[in-house]
């Protein structure tokens, strides 16, 4: 089984978010593996351990090499190799452009299963995965909470409003993983050492034209206003004043 895992590098949740002239200032960002994609890596490695095969990490990013160690951690979990597509002016909010570049790379990889997270925690678009499936002309199942492989057939479970959807599919297919699909292991020190010996390839790719939407402006949520302490003679008096304010000032009742 040949498995390609899509791993997106997203700003570390501790990165300071600053807006300058309506744009996110990304200069000081540190990056980490998108948490949803970690579930995909773990699931892929479990399939490989049970059935044999190869797990390839595929990531599209800029020329910034600071992400390499975090990608190597995915190989410590058990992936066999990593391919990083390096693109000038890469942006995480262009799913169509990014899906084009990624699907071009996947075409040459003879993948039986392409698996990634349901969404990136940078822009939450949930688009790149399904777009890649479309471009490759293969089926996709998104937001999967449980994935099993028996006799070459995949059984996926999806949580839908008020129930559970079960889908059966043969390969090749693309799956995106929902949160907590599987518990991501803590690799052993030996695996960390082994990960250094696994192939890690950087390929330069050209930017592509796309009809991705453009962000017009970004803004932070408004700062919270100060609270108010309601004074009063008694509890009843205070409650009366509160109700009055909720009616006349907050206009919520």
């Amino acid at each position: 089984m040949n498995i390609v895992v899509l791993v997106k590098m997203v700003p570390d949740t501790e990165s300071r978010l600053e807006i300058v002239d309506g744009k996110v200032n990304e200069s000081g960002f540190k990056y980490m593996v998108n948490p949803y994609d970690e579930f995909a890596v773990e699931q892929a490695v479990q399939f490989k351990e049970a059935n044999g095969g190869k797990v390839t990490i595929l990531s599209l990013f800029s020329n910034d090499g600071s992400i390499d160690t975090d990608l190597r951690k995915m190989m410590a979990i058990g992936a066999d190799e990593a391919i990083v597509l390096r693109q000038d002016n890469y942006r995480g909010d262009k799913p169509s452009a990014n899906a084009t570049v990624l699907s071009n790379a996947i075409k040459e990889m003879e993948a039986d299963l392409i698996i990634g997270g349901v969404q990136g925690i940078d822009y939450y678009q949930s688009a790149t995965g399904p777009m890649i499936a479309h471009m490759l002309g293969i089926p996709h199942i998104s937001g999967v909470t449980n994935l099993e492989l028996n006799d070459g057939k995949f059984t996926a479970k999806r949580q839908v409003e008020g129930g559970l959807q079960i889908i059966e599919c043969s390969n090749p297919l693309l799956v995106t993983c929902q949160k907590d699909m599987t518990k991501v292991r803590f690799p052993a020190l030996k695996d960390i050492m082994m990960s250094k010996r696994k192939p890690f390839e950087s390929r330069t790719v050209e930017p592509v034209e796309s009809n991705d939407v453009e962000t017009a402006e970004c803004s932070l949520p408004p700062a919270r206003g100060g609270g108010m302490i309601i004074e009063g003679e008694s509890s009843e008096d205070k409650v009366d004043k509160l109700i009055e304010k909720l009616k006349t000032e907050a206009k919520v009742i």
């Binding site: 951690k73 803590f186 690799p187 052993a188 020190l189 030996k190 960390i192 050492m193 250094k196």
Partner: protein, 387 residues
């Protein structure tokens, strides 16, 4: 709860290898997910769940700087970083790593024979067998050379008598490395759980190191087969070699405790409002935070250089002594200062500072501040002041 932020004011990270960073990050995330949510509970109940040892074994943390019997062969610096991350959670974790790796596996690895290594090391590495280390006695702490534990050789066995105290993991241990005198010379023996005449009652009533199991080891005519002596060492060199390695771990571990207290203090100082503004606005609080940052940064540089010296085999026991003395001392002061910044809240288990403060009182043993000064005094002057 806000994410933990470690200190790297002088960009020391650039000097670590990629593997070292990966190991540190692995242990940090394990601690974050598996230990931090429960550590206050363990501490208040005075328990150290056995599964923690199994998980540490699965990750391959025990004896990770050894290069035999499946051990990972990592650098001493990587080991130091592991200690740092473990002790950031609680000294009990770092102590468990020290006892299993440096004080139980290391003596078997350095001084044991082939059979002993094959019998114990693979299972100890995996955390399937737990070891402990018996040197200190009720009446002999800083002067272990005068230990009272004695072994007598008979035709087919050794018979040991004596009591050891302050033994981490003693009660749950499957084997104990016991140092005792045979014909007047200090020798190492491997005692197994179940050996007749051996018992390991837990010591209760601690106000420090509460999440760690601390025990007495009692040997009453304890008879063991002859193949349980460590054949390749005699005298204090045996236990001191191990202790030096354990102290090296403390150089880094105390940094972890200090960073945890500093991190908690910074977050508290920025969020606690007093006189209408965060207490971090006040000069006296800023002065404390600046002092903490300064001391941690100095301690990191010291630990880093000591780690690299050890990786090259160029460290001396006096260098470790200085590092242990300095870093534990600064960590204790930072923990107390952190409690102060936290005000009354500092005594609550909602914050990690008082737990660390209490733990560090125990960490400051295992070669006390004064004894370390005397070791350095001897190195400087050539005159031993503690005899």
């Amino acid at each position: 709860m806000e994410k933990y932020e470690s200190v790297d004011f002088y960009n020391i990270d650039q000097h670590f290898t990629e593997e070292e960073i990966m190991v540190r990050d692995l242990v940090r995330s394990w601690v974050e997910e598996e230990i931090m949510p429960h550590i206050e509970d363990y501490n208040s109940k005075g328990i150290f769940p056995r599964e923690i040892i199994s998980e540490m074994g699965e990750m391959g943390l025990f004896g990770c700087y050894l290069d035999e019997h499946g051990c990972a062969g990592f650098s001493h610096t990587a080991y130091g970083l592991i200690c740092q991350e473990l002790e950031r959670a609680d000294s009990a974790l770092r102590s468990c790593l020290s006892i299993q790796g440096s004080l139980s596996m290391l003596p078997i690895s350095l001084f044991g024979d082939k059979n002993q290594k094959e019998k114990y090391l693979p299972k100890m590495r995996q955390g399937k067998l737990v070891g402990c280390f018996g040197l200190t006695e009720p009446d002999h702490g800083s002067d272990p050379t005068n230990m009272a534990t004695k072994a007598i050789e008979t035709e087919d066995s050794f018979v040991l008598n004596g009591t050891k105290m302050w033994i981490t993991n003693g009660t749950i241990a499957d084997l104990a490395i016991i140092w005792g005198k045979l014909e007047g010379k200090i020798r190492g023996f491997i005692i197994e759980k179940g050996d007749k005449g051996f018992s390991a009652p837990e010591m209760k009533g601690k106000h420090s190191f509460k999440a760690s199991i601390t025990s007495e080891l009692v040997l009453q005519d304890c008879k063991i087969p002859k193949d349980r002596i460590l054949p390749n060492v005699e005298g204090m060199r045996g236990p001191l070699t191990c202790l030096s390695q354990a102290r090296f771990g403390i150089v880094w571990g105390s940094l972890g405790a200090a960073m945890c207290c500093y991190d908690a203090s910074v977050k508290y100082a920025k969020s606690r409002i007093m006189f209408g503004k965060p207490i971090g606005s006040f000069q006296l609080v800023q002065n404390k935070l600046a002092w903490m940052l300064r001391e941690i940064t100095k301690g990191q540089l010291l630990a880093y250089h000591l780690g690299r010296a050890k990786d090259k085999g160029e460290e001396t026991s006096e260098m470790i002594t200085l590092g242990k003395m300095n870093n534990v001392d600064m960590a204790m002061q930072i923990a107390r200062m952190a409690r102060d910044i936290h005000g009354a809240n500092g005594i609550l288990n909602e914050y990690p500072v008082m737990r660390h403060m209490a733990n560090l009182e125990s960490v400051s043993l295992q070669g006390t501040y004064d004894i370390h000064n005397l070791i350095l005094g001897r190195w400087i002057t050539g005159i031993q002041a503690f005899k």
